[in-house]
């Protein structure tokens, strides 16, 4: 055992790094969101200006990220559920091998893959046309809000599915077997027995994904060149084009707020259900 004083000395460098490179800039961003650098003084000017310029982008971001999170949740439950309750051995082996591929692929790479795949002349449309499911004249580019959602879902589903599948695998199987013996179908077992028990893990995975998607810059820049776009692009634009840190930080504050609302809704849900289910 290392004594108390030595422990504090040992952890000090890591804490100093965290303080200097995270807490300090975080505080900076919170404070400077309220600073009017042109006139001097403090107030809500930056927020008024942000809303005036970018209200549609703020809503667009909220919708994109929420929709992506919902789809990721649904797919993760489906994948985890099949891995836990599926009976076809071949299908299980294939699925276990298949679903994790995008897990560590960076967003910027995923964006490039989708930029070619989802384009008007990309592989997705070509194959659908070849399969005779669509006329080539009907082919449309998916490089808009749908492209962002598809890229987010493609990249983040393996992460949440991995967490969910892990939690499901750790469940006590006797309740599942009991329900099965009583004649419950697989869908019913999944939603009434399995999902409620892994709800915490699922929510943690989804919230982490939500935060990550809220701060990705490369995907909206590379997939969706038109307006409306995500506020991350606006933040980079305010800084690179105008050195306008006030509006950029106000937008950053709004992205914190959108995350906080989600976290708060989740925590309140947990309290209402009488403590978080574990």
């Amino acid at each position: 055992m290392i004594n108390r004083k030595t422990s504090l000395i040992l952890i000090a460098p890591a804490l100093a790094l965290l303080g200097l490179l995270f807490l300090y800039p975080l505080g900076y961003s919170l404070i400077w969101a309220f600073r009017d650098e042109e006139l001097g003084g403090w107030g809500l000017q930056n927020f008024i200006k942000s809303w005036g310029l970018y209200s549609s982008d703020i809503l667009f971001t909220l919708i994109i990220v929420t929709l992506s999170t919902a789809i990721i949740g649904a797919l993760s439950v489906a994948i985890g559920g099949y891995l836990t309750l599926g009976e076809n051995r071949v299908a299980l082996t294939i699925l276990r091998w298949l679903y994790r591929w995008p897990l560590f692929i960076p967003f910027v790479v995923a964006a490039q893959l989708m930029r070619t795949f989802l384009a008007k002349n990309g592989m997705m449309n070509n194959i659908i046309v070849q399969a005779g499911l669509m006329e080539s004249l009907q082919a449309a580019s998916f490089l808009d809000w749908r492209g962002i959602v598809i890229t987010f879902v493609w990249k983040q589903t393996p992460f949440v599915a991995l967490l969910v599948a892990g939690a499901m695998a750790a469940l006590d199987r006797s309740t599942i077997e009991a329900a099965r013996n009583l004649g419950a179908g697989r869908t019913r077992i999944l939603f009434q027995i399995v999902v409620p028990q892994v709800a915490t893990t699922l929510m943690v995975g989804l919230i982490l994904s939500y935060v990550v998607m809220m701060s990705v810059l490369s995907v909206p820049m590379m997939i969706n060149a038109q307006t409306p776009t995500m506020i991350t692009v606006d933040m980079a634009w305010r800084i690179n084009a105008y050195s306008d840190y006030g509006v950029a930080n106000a937008l950053g504050f709004i992205s914190y707020a959108m995350t906080a609302v989600i976290a708060w809704v989740y925590l309140r849900q947990g309290v209402r259900e009488g403590g978080s289910p574990t």
């Binding site: 290392i2 004594n3 108390r4 422990s7 504090l8 040992l10 952890i11 890591a14 804490l15 790094l17 965290l18 490179l21 995270f22 300090y24 800039p25 975080l26 900076y28 961003s29 076809n88 299908a91 699925l95 298949l98 679903y99 994790r100 591929w101 995008p102 560590f104 692929i105 960076p106 967003f107 910027v108 790479v109 995923a110 490039q112 893959l113 930029r115 070619t116 795949f117 002349n121 592989m123 997705m124 070509n126 070849q130 935060v211 809220m214 701060s215 990705v216 810059l217 490369s218 820049m221 590379m222 933040m235 980079a236 800084i239 840190y245 930080n249 937008l251 950053g252 914190y256 995350t259």
Partner: protein, 267 residues
């Protein structure tokens, strides 16, 4: 009924395989396409001339590849330098407010990082750190800090204490015990955290975008620039170079991270 269900499963799996491997295949084709003009479904000609452009010793791409690898190596060193002591304190020490400290390192994961990054860039600008390797390494280190600290903590917590006591009983000094018993036993976990941090640094985009400009270009930034200029061959080759270590790590992570260490992550 059974045949119907099997067919449905097969169709769904095929769709999933298409969704996952379709985009990767499209990138692979682009990386060896010499000319590919609209509306052809496949490239008009194939070849490796773009690979030569990427790997030309004096080219931009080689420079950013070296930058990326160098920055990632220094990020690993910086992370281990702070994470090993912190992991010892959190995993083996008598630390007051231990849970609070663990949670503190998780904080960067709880905030959308872009707003923090642009303010780091502003602070670094004042310090003359923008556009320097040091600045980029520092930003990457903070990105990987929660993983390096948490995994190091778990690795040290999983070391069998009786082995350390046995070494101490036969007269080894505390530092000798650490060097000959604790550190070697924790090494697989520390290696896993080092590889993970290396990968995070290699793939990092937003922090480098704000802090690295205009002097430090890494692979992700090169990929971004090439893609935005419509140079899909260069972008796809760069994407492939970044994809290989990511997929390799995904396939082999279970060998690096043993279950006894994994079970202690965050506890």
């Amino acid at each position: 009924m059974n045949i119907l269900r099997s067919t449905l499963t097969a169709v769904l799996l095929a769709l999933l395989a298409f969704a996952i491997f379709g985009p990767i295949t499209n990138m692979l084709i682009w990386s060896v396409a010499e000319t590919w003009y609209f509306p052809a479904k496949l490239p008009q000609s194939y070849g490796f001339s773009f690979w030569e452009r990427v790997f030309r010793p004096q080219g931009n791409a080689m420079e950013s590849l070296w930058n990326s690898v160098l920055i990632a190596l220094f990020t690993v060193l910086a992370s281990l330098a702070v994470a090993i002591p912190a992991g010892l304190a959190l995993g083996r020490g008598r630390l007051p407010w231990r849970a609070l400290f663990l949670l503190l390192f998780l904080l960067p994961q709880a905030f959308p990082s872009i707003a923090v990054h642009m303010n780091i860039a502003r602070i670094f600008y004042g310090l003359g750190l923008n556009g320097t390797y040091t600045g980029v390494v520092l930003v990457h280190t903070i990105q990987g800090l929660v993983f390096s600290v948490w995994i190091a903590t778990a690795a040290f917590a999983a070391v069998d204490r009786e082995l350390e006591e046995a070494a101490a009983n036969i007269g080894a000094s505390p530092f000798t015990v650490f060097r000959t018993v604790t550190l070697p036993l924790a090494l697989p976990g520390l290696m896993a955290s080092a590889i993970f941090v290396f990968l995070i640094s290699l793939d990092e985009f937003t922090g480098t975008f704000f802090v690295g400009v205009p002097d430090v270009t890494t692979m992700p930034l090169l990929l971004f620039t090439a893609s935005m200029e419509g140079n899909y061959q260069i972008a796809s080759i760069t994407a492939l170079i970044l994809l290989v270590p990511s997929v390799g790590f995904m396939l082999f992570i279970e060998r690096f991270l043993k279950s006894d260490v994994l079970a202690k992550v965050g506890s």
